[in-house]
């Protein structure tokens, strides 16, 4: 077991997994050593026998009329679930963020971690009967690179310079820089494997290697999927049919679960956890995660240009209040950088920044901004609790002489009108598979997504360097320094990492919480079964 799960990714699995093997393996991973998972005992107990059959109604939080069956365009959490229904990635990501063989049976890299060779699993076929070959993998990965690519994973795959088939079941990927964690990138919802050479029209048919086949898809309304009888994982999936849709109004979604109209819902309001726990026939599934809603200020525009203002804002955040009031305890306290306390790379040396209005006032005075209005743009879009965070922050900052003006914008227009355009906003970052992913996506110098425009030479150097370091302790040292830099000088005020909370009816079993996303890292459909 240890072999396959080491971070350098030398997987050693060949052939098909028997059902029992798969269940015991995934249970072991789920109960993972790092205690990242917070799952009720019943679901993880190996004693519960899976039952085949039934139709499950799975409900997520948002859907849009412009959704696609194309994994590289996956644009809502509901879409992410759908990708795992129809397709498979080369690897999956366990709940302690290790790559687990999926379509790739094994992989290895050159010592400089710049070349990766993936050996494909044998005997896998697409929904149309065509066998999986390296040509499909090459085609799928190439979609994410190049100037014409419109893929969601384009930034992640930036370092890929070449993808080549060495033979029918081997693929070689060449990177421009060393990255010991590269396989993890191939485990997310957008880098799924699709059939070779399919033009857009074919893709719309949703042909993949996944546990379910497409029966019906109405973008913005719902999708219906039936079991893939030739699925390469023996015995899976258990349910006959999945109906996947979204109810955006959270009260309506919760009500639908309570009324028995849906079997499992993603993204539960933390306020209602206590209520639902008491409701008969309903279980809560939760995972501690590294996703967080933050307040981020640009370092080159507006009031947050001044480092004193940034420090003042950081000291003016009442993290405990946010934790208790907004997330009702279902969160971890953050220290103004994107690594949560339960991550092995978390910097324990850095004292947790407590709410200190006195120090905040000191810093704001130094910057001569005391009493001057600082607008904070927010909407509910970027992440759970974004609006409430802004409201509470305004309160806690007032005690330090900082005048925050909350400006709430229309939720649908947040990403295009407010993000990257206003200097001080609430923002949100979803689960990432490693601290490197978190640092890269939000803090790369010159990258569009660097919303704070923070440019620190030392940080950049460490970040690129660390990607090639396989040794845990050396890496940890580098990450600790990077966390310190962000903590002191960065533009993030990051008070809480929210837990991923879902709710289900008791008839749904086999749900394994995964910090990579709601509904078991979006993979719940493949693993769940219905007891009645």
């Amino acid at each position: 077991m240890a072999d396959e799960t080491s971070r350098s990714g030398k997987g050693e699995v060949t052939g098909r997994l028997s059902r029992r093997q798969f269940i015991s393996r995934s249970s072991a991973l789920a109960l993972g050593a790092t205690g990242l998972v917070d799952v009720p005992a019943a679901d993880a107990a190996p004693g519960t026998q899976p039952r085949r059959g039934g139709r499950a109604r799975v409900c997520m939080d948002t859907s849009r009329p412009d959704e696609y069956l194309d994994p590289m365009r996956s644009n809502t959490r509901q879409a992410h679930v759908r990708q795992f229904v129809l397709y498979n990635p080369l690897v999956t990501i366990s709940s302690d963020f290790k790559p687990v063989p999926e379509l790739a049976a094994s992989w290895s890299s050159t010592p400089d971690a710049k070349q990766w060779v993936f050996t494909l699993r044998k005997g896998v076929t697409f929904h149309n009967g065509k066998p999986l070959t390296s040509a499909d993998v090459v085609y799928s990965l190439r979609r994410h690179i190049g100037p014409k690519s419109e893929s969601q994973a384009k930034a992640l795959m930036k370092s890929v310079t070449d993808v080549k088939a060495e033979d029918a079941s081997t693929v070689r990927v060449t990177l421009s820089e060393a990255n010991v964690e590269f396989p993890l990138i191939l485990g997310i919802y957008s880098t799924m494997i699709v059939p070779d050479g399919f033009d857009k029209a074919e893709l719309e048919k949703g042909i993949g290697t996944g546990p379910f086949k497409l029966k019906e898809f109405k973008p913005g309304v719902r999708g219906v999927f039936v079991r893939n009888e030739n699925y390469w994982k023996e015995g899976l999936p258990y349910v006959d049919e999945i109906e996947l849709f979204a109810i955006s109004n959270i009260s309506a979604r919760t009500n639908a679960l309570l009324a028995g109209e849906i079997d499992i819902m993603g993204v539960l309001d933390p306020k209602t956890v206590g209520l639902l726990e008491k409701a008969p026939g309903i279980d809560i599934v939760a995972a501690k995660s590294n996703a967080h809603t933050v307040m981020s200020g640009m370092v080159d525009q507006g009031a947050t240009t001044d480092p004193n203002v940034r420090l003042a804002l950081k000291f003016a955040a009442d993290r405990n209040r946010a934790q208790q009031n907004i997330y009702k305890g279902h969160s971890q306290i953050g220290n103004d950088h994107p690594v949560p306390p339960n991550d092995p790379y978390y910097c324990h040396d850095l004292p947790l920044r407590a709410y200190d209005p006195g120090r905040a006032r000191f810093h704001i005075k130094k910057s001569n901004m005391e009493g001057q209005e600082i607008p904070l743009y927010t909407a509910e879009t970027p992440g759970p609790g974004a609006v409430e965070l802004a409201i509470l922050f305004q309160q806690s900052a007032a005690a330090a002489g900082i005048r925050i003006k909350v400006v709430r914008v229309p939720p649908e227009t947040f990403w295009s009108n407010t993000w990257l355009k206003q200097p001080f906003i609430t923002s949100g970052w979803n689960s990432h598979f490693s601290p490197d992913a978190a640092f890269t996506e939000a803090f790369t110098q010159g990258d569009r997504r660097n919303e704070t425009h923070w440019a620190n030479e030392r940080f950049q150097k460490l970040m690129v360097q660390a990607r090639g370091v396989a040794d845990f302790d050396r890496r940890k040292e580098m990450y600790w320094e990077m966390q310190r830099l962000l903590h002191e000088d960065g533009g993030f005020v990051a008070p809480c990492f929210y837990d991923l909370i879902d709710a289900k009816r008791s008839r749904v079993q086999g749900v394994q919480a995964n910090p990579m996303g709601n509904l078991g890292g979006y993979r719940v459909c493949e693993q769940m079964w219905l007891t009645s």
Partner: protein, 315 residues
């Protein structure tokens, strides 16, 4: 009469054209564009440029507008920028839903409202009028989403008589789809009914003050007859106007109900289109709503004129 209608139709076409210009400029003014909306947080400068090039967004605004207008005048509503699907296909999916909701709500609300209004005028000042008045007052004084939330809590969550959401599916029985419509239709009816009923009552009472109506009453005609034969025809213009306005609202403006009941109608389609700066889709929705409005108002005006001959011959 015919020339009047013709004139109105011509004016309506001009109005529609003005609307398309308004919509185009409005959407252009909004900060951001389709590419940003579609790619979201994971966009890179390169992928944004790729999307913009593919969609032809790098051409000047006027060129894009004229091209759209040219296509639209031949009935080709174009392709949605955000999803790549034909606009007509996306609208067809939802028009049926919106119309179903609107027709049910209208069929229930309008007759009841007119009846309540007339009854109120009939028994003006007495117990029946007072209680009807109070009832309509209560109905129209709370927000729609509150009414919806209370109805859902009672009938869907606690009693489980009706479903929480109203999303229609092809594979459900007609009984199921009807059941799904009950709560949203009730919500809409409750709110609209009040306004129409009160306006009806006020308009009738106003006309009742005019000399010839008073005359009819004093002559000994029963109040009911007076209302139906003399007051109502003259009170029709404002009443019909209000009815038309509300019907137009039903066909386009019920976003709140669509959101609460997860009902995929034209309202939420348009909001989503605006959010993604999807110009062809926004234009198509706007045109659709405006055509409905224009048609309903034309119908209301024609009926008013038919009812009040004086208006046929403006001095």
């Amino acid at each position: 009469m015919v020339s009047l209608i013709l004139r109105r139709v011509l004016v309506s076409v001009a109005v529609l054209w003005l609307v398309t210009i308004l919509v185009f400029s409005g959407t252009e003014i909004l900060p951001g564009d389709v590419a940003e909306a579609v790619l979201g947080q994971n966009a890179t400068e390169e992928s944004l440029a790729a999307v913009r090039q593919r969609l032809g967004l790098d051409r000047p605004a006027l060129v894009r507008y004229v091209e759209w207008l040219r296509h639209a005048s031949t009935g080709n509503l174009g392709v949605s920028l955000a999803s790549g699907r034909p606009v007509s296909e996306m609208m067809e999916e939802r028009i049926g839903n919106t119309l179903r909701l609107a027709i049910f709500a209208a069929l229930i609300a309008v007759p009841i409202a007119l009846t309540i209004g007339m009854l109120g005028a009939l028994r003006a000042g007495r117990m029946l009028d007072r209680s009807l008045s109070t009832m309509t007052l209560c109905f129209m004084s709370v927000p729609e989403y509150f009414v919806a939330a209370v109805l859902v809590l009672i009938f869907a969550v606690r009693l489980r008589w009706l479903p929480v959401t109203a999303t229609p599916h092809a594979d459900e029985s007609s009984l199921q789809s009807l059941a799904g419509l009950v709560l949203p239709v009730t919500t809409l009816t409750v709110v609209l009914l009040a306004h129409m009923a009160r306006m009806t009552r006020a308009a009738i009472l106003n006309v009742m003050s005019s000399p010839y109506v008073e005359n009819a009453t004093l002559k000994g005609m029963t109040r009911a007859r007076v209302i139906v034969r003399h007051a109502l025809p003259n009170a029709l213009p404002p009443i019909l106007n209000v009815v038309a306005l509300n019907l137009a609202y039903l066909v386009s403006g019920v976003i709140v109900v669509e959101t609460v009941f997860n009902y995929p109608g034209l309202g939420s389609l348009m909001v989503s289109a605006v959010a993604t700066h999807d110009l062809p889709l926004v234009q198509a929705c706007a045109l659709d709503f405006c055509i409905a409005y224009v048609f309903l108002n034309l119908a209301a005006d024609v009926m008013s004129i038919l009812a009040n001959p004086r208006l046929r011959y403006p001095k």
